[in-house]
């Protein structure tokens, strides 16, 4: 059962955003998440990966199977070494954007997953999202 899945996608251009969300969906599907959760996760990864390309130009997306005997869990870490988010609280407000977007990216991603954690300082931003459900 300890079949640890780990997929690492390097984010360097907008094609990589498509690859990263596809990887997230595929791992979620293999672990037994339903179509709704697969889509939620893929959409959340898309938002986070796009932020990396837009603000930091490059980064990585790491999709990991964190399941244990009781729960199936998937964790996604999206990380970059860009300028960082100076005001995380504002960045998490729906409708706030410094990049000309809708301001729905980060708060939207948060609404789609079960766990959402963000840490940022100049030179390093890491967003961790996770989804889990009981094993049946």
């Amino acid at each position: 059962m300890a079949d640890l899945t780990k997929i690492r996608v390097v984010l360097e251009n907008s094609r990589d955003v498509v690859i990263a969300r596809g990887a997230g969906r595929e791992v979620a599907r293999q672990l037994g998440f339903g179509p709704a959760d697969q889509t939620r996760l893929a959409t959340a990864i898309s938002e986070l990966a796009r932020n990396v390309i837009q603000y930091a130009r490059e980064g990585v997306c790491l999709v990991t199977d964190e399941s244990n005997g009781h729960r199936i869990s998937i964790k996604v870490v999206v990380e970059d070494h860009g300028p960082g988010i100076s005001d995380i609280e504002r960045a998490m407000e729906y409708g706030f954007s410094t990049g000309g977007g809708l301001g729905a990216g980060l708060p939207g991603a948060k609404r789609l997953v079960h766990e959402f954690d963000i840490e940022s300082q100049p030179g390093h931003t890491r967003v961790t999202i996770a989804m889990s459900r009981p094993r049946v």
Partner: protein, 127 residues
């Protein structure tokens, strides 16, 4: 990646069959606007049955496209959005969906014809 836009009598028809990058989505938007303007079509149905992710960027591109097409004097209907895609969009924020929609291409065409009729008979919806 070029997404074909077909002309069918007085309307246009297009179907996004692949996962688009941001740049491809913007190119598609430009193509739609150019075609609407060049062909003087009454409207366009954009079928997104094959899209399994519509994130906030894609949602904005689709919304903007619809808004601009309306300003040009034509109508837009988005057809075939997958239920899970609609679900994720609503969960992210309702404001992301601001386009006329239809269940499938068939109903999309019907709806488009009705919208065009309303516009030409002067009973269009106020924006």
């Amino acid at each position: 990646m070029i997404i074909p836009i077909l002309r069918l009598k007085d309307v246009l028809l297009t179907s996004i069959q692949v996962d688009l990058t941001d740049q491809e989505a913007l190119d598609f938007q430009a193509d739609v606007l150019r075609m609407v303007s060049e062909t003087e079509a009454g409207g366009i149905v954009i079928d997104i049955t094959a899209l399994d992710v519509v994130d906030s960027f894609m949602a904005r591109v689709l919304n903007d496209t619809a808004r601009i097409v309306r300003i040009l004097g034509a109508e837009v209907v988005l057809s075939g959005m997958q239920p899970m895609v609609a679900l994720a969009l609503i969960e992210m924020g309702r404001e992301l969906v601001g386009v006329e929609t239809a269940l499938n291409l068939d109903q999309g065409l019907e709806r488009l014809q009705r919208l065009i009729q309303e516009r030409t008979s002067g009973h269009g919806r106020p924006d």
